[in-house]
């Protein structure tokens, strides 16, 4: 099978694990050619060097659509880009897979020989909310991204491409929003297996307090740091006996410490307003490598996850796998994944700081019993392996090639 893979975004973190998990377990007769450009391609050079599967990389520059905010004579390009994928990429490939299809504009005639993974549509679903949290230029970019991703998803869902999602909740959302659909998206949950294989790395130099709660997430507005900060301040003031500092990891969290951009500045100011001290009440570690992240997670008194929406949500599952108590948002997708693995969870409404505060108090006061329950659940935790995930993708690729060949009228 000649498998073209197209991605011009190259998201770090969970996306890298996902790609390695799928690539590493593909059979050798699947010839992978990956098309990308710019910084994304540089990321893929790194990833290809880590992969056990041969990946041919092709630098294929393309046209990008962007938006700009204009005020008077001044104009500023805003961040999000839409990638106008040329049809020639499909030449010589049996199938083209978009492992992160958002923001890729696919030529209509190429849909039958396409498999597309939608991890989430958060930018569309929470678009108005997220745009409202941005400064002018960011808002312009966000609305552009929201409008374009919505349109691209609408086209994709109405096409002959096969769509794969990570969670039933995402499948149901797509069906409800863009349906009725002639074919529902396949659900292929991601694996947390990698967490068992990661070797803990020393973290003594991080100077972590004895007890802390951990929130691993970038600082995007849907991650809802503000509610967590308000809850933390409430606990600090009203239940000092239960209080534990909060550790933040993840991309762009460093901007909260420095306050260098709009979101970072806002969250930093909020911490100041709440009288939470960076370095003492809120410890910001930024991006950690896998080994150090595992060590930090293992030492945490609990993982708190107040996100408003996720496509899958790795961290609570990873915590569950390691026997770390979990307190998290009572949202469909997290219910789906955590209940599938019977991870004991303190649920809260993410928009209600009092509920988050109550969960933090329980993590602070019932640590022993929560940890025992979490350890017991971890012992029974059985997840899909990446080999199984990859096999499901391989089957989806084969099914789609079969469908495309019938569509082309060339026979299977």
């Amino acid at each position: 099978m000649k498998l073209g893979v197209v991605d011009y975004q190259f998201a770090r973190g969970g996306a890298e694990r996902f790609l390695l998990g799928v690539f590493d377990n593909l059979p050798p007769d699947v010839e992978v050619t990956l098309f990308s450009s710019g910084q994304a391609l540089a990321g893929y050079h790194e990833l290809a060097s880590q992969s056990r599967h041969d990946i041919a990389l092709v630098d294929q520059p393309l046209l990008m659509h962007q938006s700009a905010a204009v005020a008077g004579d001044e104009a500023a390009l805003s961040g999000p880009q839409i990638y106008d994928v040329p049809a020639e990429i499909w030449n010589g490939q049996d199938l083209v897979w978009f492992p992160w299809v958002n923001r890729h504009l696919i030529p209509r005639q190429c849909f039958p020989r396409t498999v597309a993974t939608i991890h989430d549509l958060i930018v569309v679903e929470l678009g108005e909310f997220m745009a409202g949290k941005r400064e002018a230029v960011g808002r312009v970019g966000h609305f552009f991204s929201m409008a374009m991703e919505d349109m691209l998803a609408r086209r994709l869902m109405g096409s002959l491409a096969k769509v794969i999602v990570d969670a039933e909740r995402t499948r149901d959302h797509l069906a409800k929003t863009y349906g009725p659909l002639s074919r529902l998206p396949d659900v292929v949950p991601l694996s947390t297996e990698h967490m068992r294989e990661i070797q803990p790395a020393p973290i003594d130099d991080l100077g972590l307090p004895e007890r802390f709660v951990l929130y691993p997430a970038n600082y995007s507005s849907h991650k809802n740091h503000e509610s967590l900060f308000v809850a933390l301040a409430k606990v600090k003031e009203s239940r000092p006996d239960a209080y534990m500092p909060l550790v933040l990891t993840g991309g762009s969290t460093g901007n909260i410490a420095s306050g260098v951009d709009y979101r970072g500045g806002y969250l930093k100011a909020l911490l100041g307003h709440l009288k939470l001290e960076i370095g003492r009440d809120v410890i910001i570690l930024g991006v950690l490598d896998d080994g150090r992240f595992r060590s930090v997670l293992s030492r945490a008194a609990g993982l708190v996850f107040p996100t408003l929406l996720e496509g899958f949500g790795f961290p609570p599952l990873e915590a569950g796998l390691l026997g770390i108590p979990v307190a998290c948002s009572d949202i469909e997708v997290l219910r789906e994944s955590l209940e599938r693995h019977n991870v004991p969870t303190l649920w809260f409404q993410p928009g209600v700081p009092d509920e988050i505060a109550a969960a933090l108090v329980r993590l602070g006061t019932e640590g022993e019993s929560l940890r025992a329950a979490a350890a017991q659940a971890a012992a029974a935790f059985r997840d899909l392996s990446w080999a199984e995930v990859s096999a499901q993708y391989l089957q989806a690729f084969r099914d789609q090639i079969m469908m495309a060949s019938m569509y082309d009228g060339r026979g299977a």
Binding site: P61, L62, L63, M64, H65, Q66, S67, A68, A69, V70, A71, G72, A75, L77, Q81, I82, D84, L105, R108, E128, A136, R139, V140, F143, F144, M146, A147, M148, D150, M151, R155
Partner: protein, 409 residues
Amino acid sequence: MTDGVPERMATLLHVVDYSGSDPQTARLVEEVLARLPVDEFAVGIVSSGAELERARALAGRLARPVEVIDVPALVHRFAVALGEDAQFAGSPTHEVLADTFIDPGVVWFPQLQFHLPAHRGLAKIVAGIPDVSLIEMAEFLAEKGDAVESAAATGLAAMADMALRRVAASPARLVAPSGRVADHLAKTYGCSPAQVILPTPSLLDLPAEPVPGLPPHYIIYAGGIGPLGNHESLLMAQARLKGEGKPFPLVLAGEGTSRIAGGTGHRGAYLKGLIDHLGLVLGTDVHILDDVTPGALKTAFSQSSGVILPALAEDAALLAAGQAAELGVPLAASDMAGPRDYFSRRGIAPLWFRPGAADEIAAVLGALRAASPKPPARLPDPGWDEVAQSYLTLFREQAILAASQSGVQ
């Protein structure tokens, strides 16, 4: 207070237009504002930049007080980037910020397209949707354009669709100019727009202006050269007839047609190339008039053997065809819901053809040339009084709704 009875405060109506409406919509604004009761509605026009001048000119023409208000909007542009180079693409979208909606009781967007209103103001909005073809035909338009036009078509469709979804799902009132557009809005966005049909400006009472150089026995198409004008199918049909030994001159009028003669711009060059490829000769088979005055258009229609409308959307070309029908000129038109809706309403029975079928167009062209003209006659159409009354009702209803939503009634 007057004799113990409290005086009613006039409702403040703001007309928001940052993009500059098409001529038909601009006329609508003028005709409606001229007829709104002065004691019931105080009127302001909100705009900024180059459009302010147009607003001031309109205010000057009206015999009522109209405040022209300069409120800068946040302008969203599309851009195309390849490597380090970026270029703007397409028309801007104006984000109309929440502050714009604080003072007025009703906010009228005569043409919602190219505007993104803030959520805060939705309950006050009456929004006109003159057409939806940019959204419906987005992929077609993207494929017909060069790289920059393609990006513009895609971006505009996405933004217009998002704005429509936002407004359609709100207490705002949408207004469609035809049953066809109203049906599409209802089906796609789940809303119930009001339908207010606008009159077609008649050429009957205008003096005809001379148009030199018109060929004998020609067919005329008056429509812009955008891809929705579908000139290619018409030219293919013409070439087919020429190949069969039945040549006839085709006159093209309308926005941008001069670009065909010059072969300028992506579309102009494409159509010029197509004319050459089909063995047609500019100046012999195809005559270009460009965008002419209404008086000249009257002459061009009146002297023609027939008018053809192969357009894929109901735009200015449809109105031009309606004007020609009033002059009694035989007419052939695309068999689509928009033209069907329009012509049946006006009691016009054109020859129909499928716009993508050059064979059918060729057959119709033959029949059109053989058809006899009718005497000029005014055809059924609503008047501006009727239109203004409909809008008056909409503004009153929306003012009540908005007041009830804000709890200040």
